[in-house]
Amino acid sequence: MSRLQSPSALKRKRPDSNSQGMTDQERVVYKLIHEKENMGIWVRDIKRSSNLQDTIVNKSIKSLLDKGMIKEVVNVQNKTRKTYLAAEFEPSPELTGGAWYDDGNLDVDFINAVKKLCSQKIKQLKVATVESVMDSVKASGAFKADLKKNHFEEIFGALVLDNEVMEVESNGMGEFAGIKVGKVCYKAIGKRRVGAAAAAAAAAEPRIGAMASIPCGVCPRISSCTPDGVISPGTCVYYQKWLDF
């Protein structure tokens, strides 16, 4: 018997299949998956909502996967949960993690590339807004991905946390001339030096604080250290290394 759909409704149908070759149980499972569109559904939720036995659900899912009607996607919020989507839908950013994720993993190389380019643009512009950098990056065609304004805002936030740029507010005067008063802007962090001094400053290590430059400041065992204890200044191996000229 053909599995193709017939215009006549008179032909008798096999009791457990529909015109797409799904059994009734598969149809129930597929309907639950399809309803979720691009949000996908966890296999446990399918089992709970369908009231079918676990083995039936598992068999149905396998069959639907084989038929190419559904696909499994990685849920970046919870990678251990098997999540399924109807084949015609693309997974939502909540599932995939958005522009910064590739196959469920953080795309560190891509993120670093975007950060580096944005940082360079900010240095070139001296005082930059999100829009000005976004326009400049898009015009350069450096990235295929369609990055929106919120993506650039996230990147700028990360650059602030890296201490590469600082967030300031425009006062409309001086270097902020042409930028609306109160608009959030970004400036590269670093002293205003020129020529050799600038190169030297750029190459130099970031300033280390007083505490961080001694063994105790970075010791993971400082809370256990006592003057006469097993861990003490006299027995400390970090001190030994530090004073080993």
Binding site: V108, L161, R207, G209, A212, C216
Partner: protein, 530 residues
């Protein structure tokens, strides 16, 4: 309240300089607060004579202040009705200052010259001296004439680097009266003063008296009973209230002892730290402008931890900048530009109607923040550094996943780092359970971990670690010297081969540890004194 390692560090400093007995008495006071002589004797199990002598040494060197409480004391120290008890309180801040003498000397010598510096050194070494003692010491050391010495002392007092010592046993009123008086005159909520602050507020003479030096006043003092001498006979004895009134009257007419004014010196070091912070964040020009503002407004500052400097006009600032020959090339517009840059957030300089004032609190907080970030980066790594900066700026609780998204780090690594920082006391953690039943979140509910930086608690944690580190540096140095004492005892011509290597290594060890201690002490001042 002094932290645990703060006490250990202070006791170590006193032990090094004055020995174990004095340190024992000092530790007793640091751990137990203000005590009577009898209470100290009981707790230290030393004889009254020994305790008395130890207290004399500590008072002489401004590490302890005696005082009398107006209200009668109950409990183990109960005295007869109408009798006032003398109590002793350790001055933790002054004990810490003992490692800063070289910095203080530097400040004084640079500003007032070598002879003033030498006179000042004597005051640091001996704690407090009368004019006669100062003159005798100068005469013995450098054959200075009395007039020169008195002139130098006058300069030091005028610059407020030297002050008249506080009253030996001031009467301290009860705390309620003091707090109410301050609250009435202020519309803002008044934080109660610590006992140490209340004692020193009463003990210090008026500003007029404190910085008023009259040459040859010692001749007047010779004719009168000197109640400001270290109380060698009176330590520990109960004083009757009516006796104190006549003592107070005498005090006005009697020559005072002189000592270093740590407040003024601390203020100079605070200014220096502010200028250094600005130099690093901006450039030399901005640091020059800030320095000029500090110089112009210094006279109006009335306390070390003042929040803002007095407002200054652009003209005043420019005039102060170009007073220094090195800055003659700086234009008016350049000064204005520097001020505009300093006024951008985080607003180290506030502007108000064409006048500018320094926001000391912002500069100090920026420097503290930088120091903590440096520790976090080195101790916990880059991920922790980003987490810390995020939470510090947010100032509120944030969920783990949200943190991971903001810093672009995988959730697993973020979680691991958050726990490490929390275990070391750098973060606070709260658990939020959403949904579920009374029996627990596993029945359909979810639990979330929220994280936060508590700035006040964090500063206390870091400060205690700094005291711990300072103590460790000292102990390690002592250990190194002890391990190599044979080499140290060798005459220079006998040091050859391995002995010479050991000696050279020890010299380098000393240099490194001393310079680290100096740098660490600046960080301690940043968190404790500024």
């Amino acid at each position: 309240m002094v932290s645990q390692h703060g006490i250990l560090y202070a006791v170590h400093l006193i032990t090094n300089q004055f020995g174990n007995l004095v340190a024992k008495v000092c530790e007793c006071l640091l751990r137990n607060g203000a005590l009577t002589l009898q209470a100290i004797v009981r707790r230290t199990e030393l004889s009254p004579a020994k305790v008395r002598n130890c207290l004399l040494v500590l008072i002489q060197h401004n590490c302890v202040q005696a005082f009398i409480l107006e209200e009668s004391v109950s409990g183990e120290d109960a005295g007869e009705p109408g009798k006032a008890l003398t109590l002793y309180i350790a001055l933790f801040v002054n004990i810490l200052h003992r490692v800063r003498f070289s910095k203080f000397m530097d400040v004084v010598s640079k500003e007032l010259g070598g002879s003033c510096g030498e006179l000042f050194r004597g005051l640091l070494e001996h704690g407090r001296l009368t004019v006669k003692q100062i003159v005798d010491r100068a005469g013995a050391n450098a054959k200075e004439s009395t007039n020169t010495v008195q002139e130098d002392l006058g300069k030091l007092v005028m610059a407020h680097y030297v002050e008249c010592c506080p009253a030996p046993e001031p009467l301290v009123p009860p705390p309620d009266a003091d707090t109410k008086k301050r609250a009435k005159s202020s519309k803002v909520m008044v934080e109660p003063l610590t006992l140490e602050q209340r004692v020193m507020a009463v003990a210090m003479p008026s500003v007029m008296r404190r910085f008023s030096f009259v040459p040859n006043a010692d001749q007047v003092a010779d004719d009168q009973q000197n109640v400001n001498q270290p109380p060698s006979k009176d330590v520990g004895e109960k004083r009757k209230l009516h006796d104190l009134e006549s003592d107070t009257a005498l005090e006005e007419e009697v020559e005072c002892n002189w000592r270093a004014n740590f407040e003024e010196l601390l203020r100079r070091l605070r200014h220096k730290a502010c200028v250094d912070t600005i130099k690093v964040r901006f450039d030399d020009a901005a640091a020059t402008v800030l320095s000029a503002m500090l110089e112009a407004s210094r006279a109006e500052e009335d306390k070390v931890k003042t929040a803002n400097s007095v407002p200054l006009s652009l003209n005043t600032i420019y005039e102060e900048v170009v007073k220094n020959e090195k800055n003659h090339s700086m234009t008016f517009d350049h000064v204005r530009t520097c001020l505009e840059e300093l006024s951008c957030p985080p607003t180290f300089v506030k502007t108000d109607d064409e006048s500018y004032s320094i926001d000391f609190t912002k500069i100090t907080e920026a420097a503290q923040s930088e120091e903590i970030e440096s520790i976090v980066l080195k101790r916990f790594g880059e991920t922790a550094y980003k987490i810390f900066r995020l939470l510090f700026r947010a100032g509120c609780l944030m969920e783990t996943d949200k943190i991971a998204d903001r810093i672009f780090v995988e959730k697993k690594e973020t979680s691991k780092t958050l726990f490490k920082m929390w275990q070391d006391g750098y973060l606070l953690m709260e658990k939020l359970v959403v949904g579920g039943t009374a029996t627990g979140p596993s029945y359909g509910g979810s639990s979330y971990l929220l994280w936060k930086v508590n700035k006040r608690l964090l500063r206390e944690t870091v400060l205690d670690e700094m005291f711990h580190a300072a103590l460790n540096l000292n102990l390690r140095l002592a250990h190194e010297i002890d391990q190599n004492k044979e080499v140290l005892n060798l005459p220079p011509d006998k040091r050859e081969g391995p002995d010479k290597q050991k000696f050279d290594r020890l010299r380098n060890v000393r240099l490194l540890i001393h310079s680290s201690l100096m740098k660490l002490d600046e960080a301690i001042m940043l968190f404790h004194d500024f």
